[in-house]
């Protein structure tokens, strides 16, 4: 995948930078990394990081230190759909352990791994601000809440179908 923004992505990048005063374009770094991750296959390669650095006219190291600090930036390739299941206290007391075990078993992967077909990655994450709707996970931009085994089955089936249609 080419690490260059297309026209739409570049327009969005310019909009992000324009929110800050002259000379403070580095402030756009976090949103720019989100944009790069979405544009370049769901993760950030060294080339992508260097590209963002060049666009913002900052040193690559300034980008690396940020990309490694925040948990949402994937520095390794991930599956097409990343299941980020919350495991913190409130979700735990609401049964997240059972859901995590069920996903592990159903997809036959451990946390941090991707299924062989490249479709699903399982990540265990900390509180996502959905504690009242637990157990829950984030997939891309959306939250899947009130998870049950049946719901997990249908979510997986939906994504499989979605991938097959593309």
């Amino acid at each position: 995948m080419a690490t260059i923004f297309n026209d739409t992505q570049m327009t969005e990048f310019k909009r992000l930078v324009a929110r800050y005063p002259e000379g403070k374009q580095k402030s756009a770094l976090l949103p720019a990394l989100h944009l790069a991750q979405e544009s370049f296959g769901g993760w950030l390669s060294t080339e992508s990081l260097d590209y963002v650095a060049s666009l913002l006219q900052i040193e690559p190291i300034e980008v690396y230190e940020v990309a490694t600090f925040y948990s949402m930036y994937n520095l390794k390739p991930v599956g097409k759909f990343v299941f980020e299941v919350c495991q913190t206290g409130p979700c735990m007391v609401s049964g997240s352990d059972n859901i995590i075990d069920y996903i592990k078993k159903t997809l036959d992967i451990k946390p941090g791994e991707t299924t062989k077909d490249g479709l699903f990655t399982l990540k265990l994450v900390e509180c996502l601000g959905a504690c009242g709707y637990a157990p829950m996970m984030q997939v891309g931009k959306i939250y899947k809440e009130h998870l049950t085994k049946e719901k997990v089955d249908s979510i997986i089936a939906d994504y499989r179908a979605q991938a097959a249609n593309n």
Binding site: R19, P21, K24, K26, S27, A28, L29, L30, P31, L33, H34, L56, I58, E62, E65, V66, F69, Y70, S71, M72, Y73, Q87, T88, G89, P90, M92, V93, S94, E126, C127, L128, G129, A130, C131, G132, Y133, A134, Q138, G140, K141, I142
Partner: protein, 450 residues
């Protein structure tokens, strides 16, 4: 039904749109503030209201605003803290998702009062669908003339920008948030200088929570004095509580701070009681950082008086027998929950979220997690409990930012009130893997280690 000032219109169909929000009386407060009030008068009204920061620390908002430096020719900024990452807390999300215009209205008034021409909403990155909702509300407000240049002919210009974070609890701490807004790692700054003097890009900055800024709207509409009449003592106005855990009706509730904890948990208007007819064991009443309390101390204070859902009553007894209202993240644990395991998941959370700048926090949170995991998996020794106590005491107060304290308090409180459950784990390494300590300790005297 208690008074509702923030969520009173939450169920009006279409309230997310400008048209409906305006029809329901929205943006009246902006009109009043910008046309009829001076910036000083607004700050005065907020002071009179007694509003305390809803982000967790409870600092008086009007006082905070009056501290902002006003050097000639230097821009000032208001930053809205929408990082909401304290486990158990999901109230700001509710406000932003369902009442975006209420926040925007509060932001316009507050920006005017503080002289912020460029105001930023810093929202946790995981709330990835909410920036679109906020930006739509901002665009609608702009189209209607409430934002942009020369608002209502006052000469005041204001733009609101939404910035997503990258996934880091520490960026809720105001100076870490500012660093993050500058495109850096979320390492908290050493204070002083305080943000009110040197904040975003070293300019005078006020950071306020989403709920705090939304509350400015009813304060302007009704006046600070009227607002202050709601509630009790220094707990004025209403508070959003996000309730979760083993209850029948998890969700976000607006309370006036005169109701008892018992009513909040058992009334159908709020939590609706403990799920599946079980018994209440413990509760963390103000977000994961505040001390956990066993049922008896939660419902009544050590003096035997009923405990209320407000700042003063929840902290009655100090940390020995009380807790805190904190962020309003109300986590309920039933009789089947294991305190050791719960504490372990929280310790893991804080280890994961430590920014790593201070040794006591960076190392200590890791040690606490490891020891708790050891006890939880049946490999603990009696001396581990004292070791945990010792480590948390050495972190608390010895770090740059309060995350160190936030990591210590849950461990300290769990040992303080549930020491016998920790000991039971150590003494029953096998049994503890298949069964729970349950409620045995329920009526025990309180354990206060020396």
């Amino acid at each position: 039904m208690g008074v509702k000032l923030l969520l009173d219109k939450a169920n009006v169909p279409g309230i997310r749109t400008y048209e409906v929000y305006r029809r329901e009386g929205g943006y009246r407060a902006v009109e009043k503030a910008l046309k009829e009030m001076t910036t000083d008068a607004i700050v005065e009204e907020v002071k009179k209201s007694g509003l305390r920061g809803r982000g967790g620390a409870g600092f008086p908002t009007g006082m905070k605003w009056s501290f902002i430096a006003k050097p000639e020719g230097v821009p000032r900024h208001l930053v809205c803290n929408a990082d909401e990452s304290e486990p158990g807390t999901f109230k700001d999300r509710y406000l932003m998702e369902f009442l975006p215009h209420l926040l925007i209205e509060g932001l316009i008034i507050s920006s005017f009062a503080l002289g912020s021409n460029d105001t930023y909403i810093y929202i946790r990155g995981e709330y990835a669908w909410i920036p679109d909702i906020l930006e739509e509300a901002i665009n609608e407000a702009k189209a209607a003339g409430w934002l942009g240049k020369n608002i209502l002919g006052t000469g005041f210009d204001c733009n609101i920008h939404v910035q997503r974070g990258g996934g880091a609890y520490i960026c809720g701490e105001e100076t870490a948030l500012i660093e993050s807004l500058e495109g850096k790692r979320g390492n908290p700054r050493i204070k002083p200088p305080f943000p009110a003097i040197q904040g975003l890009w070293m300019r005078p900055t006020v950071v306020n929570n989403v709920e705090t800024l939304a509350a400015i709207v009813p304060i302007i509409n009704m006046g600070g004095d009227e607002y202050a009449k709601i509630g009790v003592g220094k707990s004025t106005g209403t508070k959003l509580i996000s309730a979760c855990g083993n209850i029948n009706n998890p969700g976000v509730y607006e309370i006036d701070m005169t109701i008892t904890v018992e009513e909040f948990i058992y009334s159908d208007e709020y939590c609706g009681g403990i799920k599946d007819g079980k018994k209440l064991k413990a509760c963390i009443p103000g977000g994961s950082s505040v001390p956990i309390l066993p049922a008896n101390l939660l419902l009544t204070t050590a003096k035997g008086e009923p405990r209320y859902m407000n700042y003063e009553s929840l902290s009655d007894g100090g940390f020995a027998t009380g807790s805190m209202l904190g962020s309003g993240g109300f986590i309920v644990l039933d009789e089947d929950q294991c305190i050791v395991k719960n504490t372990y998941t929280l310790a893991r959370f804080y280890r994961h979220e430590s920014c790593g700048q201070c040794s006591p926090c960076r190392e200590g949170t890791g040690w606490m997690e490891k020891i708790l995991q050891k006890i939880e998996t049946g490999k603990g020794e009696m001396s581990d409990i004292d070791l945990l106590w010792d480590i948390q005491r050495k972190i608390e107060g010895n770090t740059i930012c309060p995350l160190g304290d936030a990591a210590s308090w849950p461990v300290a409180a769990a040992i303080r009130h549930f020491r016998d459950e920790f000991e039971w784990h150590v003494k029953n390494p096998e049994l503890s893997q298949t069964s729970n300590f349950g409620l045995q300790h329920y009526a025990d005297p309180i354990h206060v280690p020396a």
